[in-house]
């Protein structure tokens, strides 16, 4: 997930939501992100910054911190890295999505919202290739269409929806949890 549209889908999360949610926004690298603190007060589920080597706990919302890439490891822990930016971004959406796709395979849902560059397109393609489910915000509905458009072109997503419908979709996701 990315950019200014973020708060809305998260607001739809009901108390007791059972899946882990990992959020990433393009952020300036030189400041600490306060997103986790901010949302922890406002959401009915716990919100944390994703920290290096921490176990990914179901029912928790995580935010990628600033200045480092965030990945998911096979043992379902987080790892961070200072490799160079991808699409000028660190954290980059592609890095998180590609590593998550490798670990969760068909159990992963990727949602990509508004944004001003091509980050996320190959990540969404990897999620599809590994059997996951992908949702892209309708470019007509997005503040900036570049990111959804390039993801649609690169990944043939399962659904293209306006934000409001993505909002409605989120609470339903856990019903499909095997």
């Amino acid at each position: 997930m990315t950019s200014a549209a973020m708060p809305m889908p998260l607001r739809a999360l009901p108390a007791g939501f059972a899946l882990p949610v990992i959020c990433i926004l393009h952020l300036p690298g030189d400041r600490d992100s306060r997103l986790a603190e901010l949302f922890d007060e406002r959401l009915p589920v716990p919100v944390r910054e994703a920290t290096d080597k921490a176990e990914i706990v179901p029912g928790t919302v995580y935010f990628a911190g600033s200045g480092y890439h965030l990945s998911v490891e096979r043992d379902r822990t987080f790892s961070i890295s200072c490799e160079p930016p991808v699409h000028f971004a660190r954290p980059a959406i592609d890095v998180l999505m590609e590593s998550s796709a490798d670990v969760y395979g068909p159990g992963l849902v990727g949602i990509l919202l508004t944004g001003a560059n091509h980050d996320g397109a190959s990540g969404m393609a990897r999620i599809r290739a590994r059997g996951g489910f992908t949702v892209v915000q309708d470019p007509l509905d997005a503040q900036v269409a570049t990111m959804p458009e390039s993801a649609i072109a690169a990944s043939n997503p399962n659904l293209i929806l306006p934000l409001e419908r993505i909002h409605a979709l989120l609470p339903m996701l856990e019903m499909n949890e095997p």
């Binding site: 290096d52 490891e73 961070i80 200072c82 068909p106 095997p178």
Partner: protein, 280 residues
Amino acid sequence: MKNPHHNPPSDVDIEMRMLIEAVYLKYNYDFRDYTGASQKRRVLAALRAMECGTVSELQARVMHDPAAFAQLLQFLTIPVTEMFRDPDYYLAVRRLVVPFLETYPSLNVWVAGCSTGEEVYSLAILLHEEGLLERTQMYATDINPDSLDAARRGVMPLDKMRLYTENYQKAGGTRAFSGYYTAAYGGALFDRALVENVTFADHSLATDAVFAETHFISCRNVMIYFNRRLQNRVLGLFHESLCHRGFLGLGSKESIDFSSYAQRFEPLAKRERLFRKAGT
């Protein structure tokens, strides 16, 4: 019966493990306990740069051609760093660590995983300004011989000097940063006097042992590439190397909370990731 929830490793993941094992057996470079996700990205980048179709093809080349291994090694290690990165860290070293270091007649400082030397020169400048450099023996270690050569040369890109000057000032530097280098060799050549007492050495945190008693170890954004097992090994090395109540500095988002050594270091400055060996 097949487990419906089983998510088997992809072919690439299987090939990755074979490559890393081959590198270990053939060249004795141990990347087996590095975290998988970033290692995979870097191997895939090597694949493209070295024009191999598959990881298996890359493995075959690396097995039979040491020059190809030297090339792959540049991808397996991560030489991304800058001078005075996270200025608050250096500021905290000045304020909280230096007053203790000043009490020793001679000092051993270890920059573990020094890469291309940016942190070595930063710390040398700091110690020089605090009047400690002359009595400091610094050890700068890494596994990548090309990085060590670059660190020894001490030539940084000129176009980085603006950023590094800003970082230096934020890190509590009050002199003219440009006084520490001269434009040469198409870059900024740092004053050789800074590294007169620096020993640059090949040392693997994954396979080698402690080589000296140290007062301060700086190892920033190195262990983020290690899994918990290797992180534990490295913290064990540091604990063994540090003198009574010695100091350890880590990267700004690193944590030792998940390590069995968590209780054996106490935080000195939490945000800046400075720790002190706990008293026994």
